[in-house]
């Protein structure tokens, strides 16, 4: 997946066009490579539209080319490639990235002529490696939230959490433990994530 980084975050108004929902989804690269699409730039996973994605992985390859730096990031589930123009690398946080370093990426999933890519607009080195574990735990939680029956119509909106703060359908805000075979698993995950260390 080749793409370019941009020095500043892109114009969201033009990027999202008519979309009303802005999402920031933490994904594993395996999830990212398995998203479904119904058009050039309409991606979805677990029933949720994808706008911005968050990825944490290790810089597995880094090639200095004439006008750009080519990166390959591997999170253990798959790989992603992106390019950074040389002048942007020096002026932004990308200049601090080194081979073998763990980084957090934010970008927009795009498609051009049938080929998917990620426009990476933010690259930050991981300093505390608990963030590495937290990212994957968050991927699991968001996947559960968006797919399990206890949140049938919820859209997890990281970009605007006040709009949809973990909402469920109005008549079934809490899971029904008597009819829900997944209640035990959900409760176990919630108990784990509600531990003080994670709040």
């Amino acid at each position: 997946m080749a793409s370019q980084t941009t020095k500043q975050a892109p114009d969201f108004a033009s990027s999202f066009k008519n979309r009303d929902v802005r999402t920031l989804l933490p994904l594993t690269l395996k999830q990212l490579n398995s998203v479904s699409t119904n058009g050039e730039s309409n991606f979805s996973i677990d029933g949720v539209d994808i706008n911005t994605v968050a990825i944490v992985g290790r810089v597995a390859r880094m090639e200095n080319r004439i006008t750009q730096v080519h990166f390959v990031v591997d999170d253990g589930t798959d790989c992603i490639e992106y390019n950074c123009w040389c002048h942007e690398c020096q002026e932004t946080e990308v200049g601090a990235v080194r081979l073998g370093m763990y980084v957090r990426l934010h970008g927009h999933l795009k498609s051009f002529q049938g080929k998917r890519s990620v426009n990476v607009f933010s690259v930050r080195p991981v300093i505390d490696f608990n963030e590495f574990v937290h990212h994957f735990t968050e991927c699991i939680y968001v996947h559960m939230y968006n797919t399990k029956s206890w949140a049938p119509n919820a859209v997890f909106n990281y970009a605007n959490p006040s709009a949809n703060p973990y909402q469920t359908g109005p008549s079934n805000q809490f899971p029904n433990q008597f009819n829900d075979p997944m209640y035990g698993v959900k409760q176990e995950v919630m108990n784990y994530l509600n531990q003080p260390m994670h709040l």
């Binding site: 999830q31 390859r61 589930t77 790989c79 505390d128 574990v133 994957f136 735990t137 991927c139």
Partner: protein, 106 residues
């Protein structure tokens, strides 16, 4: 080595199930000698990690490599994870990543 192939998150209990496959784990360093490191997995299993480790090693180290047996890994990539890493969280992640949510990882 193909650094782009998936690597399964493992703890001590899962390591034996994935012999011959590429794995990744975090160990607490107990001791080191030339060519190998003795470490304790996040579920308190002592394993041997063979390979050239970086120096110096922090308390917690992530290793990515090939599982040779239920208590040894031939490491190809080492990353110092510092001294404040939480092994319990990683241990729980290993269980989830190899259980119900395996499809998100492998």
């Amino acid at each position: 080595m193909d650094t782009s192939s998936p690597s399964a998150f493992v703890n001590g209990a899962l390591l034996g199930r994935l012999a011959g496959r590429k794995v990744r784990t975090v160990v607490q360093v107990i001791g080191s000698e030339i060519g190998s490191v003795v470490g304790k997995t996040t579920d308190d299993v002592q394993i041997f990690v063979r390979g050239s480790s970086p120096a110096p090693l922090t308390t917690y180290v992530e290793v990515i490599g090939i599982a040779e047996s239920d208590n040894s890994i031939r490491a190809e990539t080492w990353t110092n994870f510092g001294n404040t890493f939480d092994p319990q969280n990683f241990n729980e992640l290993c269980k989830l990543a190899n259980g119900e949510f395996k499809h998100l990882f492998m």
